[in-house]
């Protein structure tokens, strides 16, 4: 049975945004939609957390933003991952994997 979509697990938003953008550049709503789709509706990302996160990540140089026309010919800001972003995604994923493995171990003990 499908539950109501929930907010993301604390502290994972930036990593997931980086992962999403590592496939192709996207605009804000595209990122939110893609994350919802891939998680099969388990997670919902609202603009109240996504837009500040994008602004923060762009500041720190992990992604780059650019105004472009969408496929429907509207203006939107497209974000692309940078080299720095890829590095940070790699290390964050590694950390995350370790933590998940540890949590599993505890839960199955």
């Amino acid at each position: 049975m499908q539950d109501e979509p929930t907010e993301l697990v604390q502290g994972t938003l930036e990593m997931l945004v980086l992962k999403t953008l590592s496939l192709m550049p996207m605009h804000g709503y595209g990122i939110a939609l893609r994350m919802e789709q891939i998680s099969e509706g388990a997670f919902r990302v609202n603009p109240g957390s996504l837009l500040p996160a994008l602004s923060r990540m762009e500041r720190s140089g992990r992604i780059k933003g650019e105004w472009k026309a969408t496929e429907n010919n509207r203006r939107a800001r497209y974000y692309a991952i940078t080299e720095k972003g890829r590095k940070s995604l790699k290390s964050e994923t590694a950390t995350w994997d370790r933590q998940i493995a540890a949590i599993h171990k505890i839960l199955e003990a």
Binding site: N46, P47, L51, P52, R59, S60, G61, R77
Partner: protein
């Protein structure tokens, strides 16, 4: 990299706030549009899709706010807004703010002034190249007792043996010379240095060069920057010009860098000549070959990679080798390595102690100032309870209120720091005018430099935090329900002693301590000025000449002194005149160990002060004769004669008549021909020392004076024309003679009082500042308490209380505080007074006068501080007071 980027982006956002806002708006709108479009694609109609998209996203304002907050610029903007608000608030209470700023300013100025002394003498690096690798080498005695200069052979041994240094240089600390050029000859102080001195120091020169290797005995001179500016008007062509130095032709080869006055922080030499020439320039120059005459200061440059500890280790080894090679002179002596330019090690401890004590006092003043400001801010905070309560109920967090109030106190503190630095500019100027009563060149001036500025700034911040935190904490914690009704929650919680009372009591206690110290030092100064120096200081003028600097032989010197004395004695207004080699109370003079053949060892020390005296000495200084005859125009080649003081008789002859006895001072035999009353020799506060006055004409040849010879004249009438006439007499005999140290004996004694005056002045200033601050604080809380109790007082008066009674009630409350604070303060002040014992002249630390006057004075000031608010209370109109509620 990314930090810079973030900084740039943030700055851009702040500068182009509209554009940044528009950008966020547009991004949000595009997000919503895409979301809506997606929903329509799934089949929702336009209206539903728009509503759902907005509902999912939430409030646009909140999102915008959160995006803004993602960058640092939001914090900066809030800070800026707070700052503007605070400035606006402060500018609305100018009177209070100026009192607060002045309070902190006084506290900071006290500390900045003391720190300027620390900065100059302890922190300032030498103006030499790479001061970190320059060390000085000193000789220790009796297994490490600190410390002396080096004898010349020891210096040469080190130069040959030491491997730790790239160079070792030596210099004689102070050499007088008369320098020609300009309108009249001047006698100034300089140093004689080894030829490698400027290389070892790695000095940059303002012009020309230092000495080169083969100039050990060359007649070349390096001028100090100041004398170059003053005497030669900064002549750009000075290098290469000939210069008359004490009658010898020298050539100027360079000018030292501005601000350089040797390796010592206190001495103020103004020229440098090669060490090898010293014998030519000064009479009685130290013996080159003696391993006992310790006269050379030594600096050395560490080799790269060699630490000071390693060098010290090598010096220990060298000292051992020298002790084995010269057991007679070098046994038990060691060598010590110190950072060059640190204070003379033997004075360092007492100097540091003095500075620590002064700093403690200055910090005490700052504490009083902080307590004062905290009190006034607490009063302020109490009045702001309502505002705080309103803001808290409207959703402000306590952190926000705290931040804003701390900002306020920080601003006040920094403004106070600025005021303090301005005040300290003046106080360091005043401090620099103190002179030591010594005949040599010293630089004791202190300035406000960047170290003092940095210290003042940090201290202001710390003070701001200190006095801001308490009121801020208290104010941001109102009991909202009470505070909204306008009640003072801080004071009315039933506590008998509120925080404010405690702070004011602390101020009164501390300022009592300071004032008592000030009182003690003033009384001590009063006593010191009345100390019987043993001679009459009024009506004596003095001036000195140094004929040796003008190549006079001893015979010519004696003739010169005789001739000048004879002509000065016949000047109008002159009662009597005499010559001597040194003025008493100059902090030190020639002294020798004495023995009396045929008498038992003296009681106490055998060191005797030696003064040369011409005819009329005792008459001119007004020293009464007890026995025997006066010193007259003694024959230089006859048996040396001397006159001793009563202390000498007490010590060496056990009170018996010494006239006719021969005494032996360091190998020189004197026949005692008279006895005079005691006088003070080195300092005003000293225990009586034995003195032997010897004939000037008999000793110029065998023991020439290093300080020249002083003409002392007792006169009637106006000293100014007499001084002119005396100078004319000297110049009519020899126009090339430099005349120096022209002053009256009273001026000299004034300088001799420098220590009690300095300490007295400091404490009086600090004490008055403390009392001012404390009375402002007392006044502040009393008038606040009156304004808070307006209603109560109104009720009392409506019930029939007379204004007299109301006034008494207010005064009683304030005075109770003051009396308790004073009662607490007296034992503290007494304990503090014990520490001052060694600095006091003629009074005990428990001086009854001080400890009765000061508390009474403080009580009177407290009464005045309560009086004004109490008057206001007694004039409250009950009808008005009750209506305002």
């Amino acid at each position: 990299m990314s930090l810079m980027k973030s900084l740039r982006a943030g700055m851009w956002a702040l500068r182009n706030k509209h554009m940044r806002n528009a950008e966020i708006d547009e991004e949000l709108r595009s997000f919503l549009e895409e979301s809506m479009h997606e929903k329509m694609r799934r089949g929702a109609n336009h209206e539903d899709a728009a509503r759902a998209a907005r509902a999912e996203a939430g409030s646009a304002a909140v999102i915008k706010h959160r995006v803004w907050n993602a960058g640092w610029e939001a914090g900066a903007e809030r800070l800026w807004a707070d700052l503007r608000y605070t400035l606006r608030r402060l500018s609305r209470m100018r009177g209070l703010v100026s009192v607060l700023v002045l309070s902190i300013g006084i506290g900071i100025a006290a500390n900045a002034t003391i720190f300027s002394i620390v900065s100059k003498f302890l922190l300032k690096p030498l103006p030499v190249g790479d001061p970190k690798t320059l060390v000085s080498i000193l000789r220790t005695y009796e297994h490490g007792q600190c410390c002396n200069n080096l004898p010349a052979p020891v210096f040469r041994d080190i130069q040959h043996m030491a491997q730790s240094f790239t160079g070792v240089a030596a210099y004689d600390e102070l050499v007088p010379a008369s320098i020609g050029g300009g309108s009249k000859p001047d006698r100034i102080w300089g140093q004689a240095a080894s030829a490698n001195y400027f290389d070892v120091a790695q000095m940059k020169m303002a012009a020309g060069r230092g000495f080169v290797a083969d100039e050990e005995r060359a007649p070349v001179i390096v001028l100090g920057y100041r004398i170059w500016q003053q005497k030669f008007e900064g002549d750009p062509e000075i290098v290469g010009k000939p210069l008359n130095v004490s009658g010898h032709p020298y050539t100027v080869v360079g000018v030292a860098a501005p601000g350089f006055h040797g390796m010592d922080q206190i001495l103020d030499p103004q020229f440098w000549v090669p060490l090898g020439d010293l014998g030519e320039l000064v009479a009685n120059s130290p013996k080159e070959e003696s391993r006992e005459t310790q006269w050379l200061r030594t600096i050395a440059r560490l080799k790269p990679g060699v630490t000071q500890a390693q060098a010290a280790g090598e010096m220990d080894a060298i000292a051992e080798r020298m002790a084995r090679a010269n057991p007679a002179t070098d046994k038990d002596n060691g060598l010590m390595v110190e950072r060059a330019g640190s204070l003379p090690a033997r004075d360092k401890r007492s100097f540091m102690l003095f500075l620590v004590a002064l700093s403690a006092v200055a910090l005490l003043v700052l504490c009083i100032a902080c307590a004062n400001v905290a009190t006034l801010l607490l009063v302020q905070a109490a009045q702001r309870q309502r505002e705080m309560a309103v803001r808290l109920s409207l959703g402000a967090t306590r952190g926000q209120l705290l931040r804003q109030m701390l900002l306020e106190s920080m601003l006040i503190a920094i403004a106070g720091g600025g005021a303090g630095v301005l005040l300290s500019l003046w106080s360091t100027y005043a401090l620099s005018s103190f002179r030591l009563p010594v005949p040599i060149a010293m630089d004791l001036s202190v300035q406000v430099d960047w170290r003092v500025l940095a210290y003042s700034f940090l201290l202001s911040l710390a003070a701001g935090l200190l006095f801001g935190l308490v009121p801020a904490w208290a104010a941001s914690r109102p009991r909202i329900s009470n505070a909204l009704k306008g009640e003072d929650v801080l004071a009315s919680s039933g506590r008998r002693w509120s925080l404010r009372d405690l702070l004011v009591a602390t101020q009164i206690t501390l300022s009592l301590t300071l004032l008592c110290a000030a009182g003690l030092f003033l009384r001590s100064l009063q006593h010191a000025a009345r100390i019987d120096v043993g001679f009459r200081s009024r009506g004596v003028v003095m001036m000195a000449i140094d004929p040796q600097l003008h190549r006079y032989t001893p015979e010519r010197t004696v003739n010169l002194l005789r001739g000048v004395l004879g002509r000065v004695s016949s000047l109008p207004g002159v009662i009597s005149a005499t010559t001597t080699d040194g003025v008493p109370l100059s902090m030190g003079h020639r002294s020798d160990g004495f023995q009396v053949p045929g008498m038992p060892k003296p009681r106490g020390e055998n060191v005797v002060e030696l003064y040369m005296a011409g005819p009329g000495y005792f008459q001119t200084l007004g020293i009464p004769r007890v026995a025997g005859r006066d010193l007259g125009d003694e024959n230089p080649s006859a048996q040396k004669v001397g006159i001793v003081n009563e202390e000498f008789v007490k010590r060496f002859f056990d009170g018996a008549n010494p006239v006719g006895h021969i005494v032996n001072g360091a190998g020189v035999r004197y026949e005692i021909v008279g006895v005079v009353k005691n006088t003070k020799s080195r300092t005003l506060g000293e225990r009586q020392r034995p003195v032997l006055y010897r004939s000037i004409y008999q000793n110029v040849a065998s023991d020439p004076s290093q300080d020249g010879y002083t003409l002392m004249t007792r006169y009637e009438g106006d000293p100014a024309p007499l001084i002119k006439a005396m100078q004319d007499v000297i110049h009519s005999v020899d126009p090339s003679l430099a005349i120096f140290n022209v002053q009256t004996m009273e001026e000299h004694i004034h300088d001799a009082l420098f220590l009690p005056r300095l300490v007295g002045t400091l404490f009086v200033v600090f004490g008055i500042a403390g009392v001012l601050l404390a009375s402002i604080g007392l006044y502040g809380i009393m008038s606040y308490s009156v304004s808070q109790r307006t209603k109560e007082i109104g009720v009392r008066m409506a019930m029939g209380a007379r204004s007299q009674q109301v006034q008494t009630m207010v005064i009683r409350k304030g005075l109770r505080l003051a009396v308790i604070a004073i009662l607490v303060g007296i034992p503290i002040a007494l304990a503090g007074a014990r520490l001052t014992g060694s600095l006091l002249y003629g009074i005990t630390p428990w001086d009854a006068m001080t400890f009765t006057t000061v508390p009474c004075l403080l009580l009177a000031i407290s009464l005045a501080a309560c009086w004004i608010p109490s008057r206001r209370a007694s004039r409250i109109d009950p009808i008005e007071a009750l209506r305002t509620e």
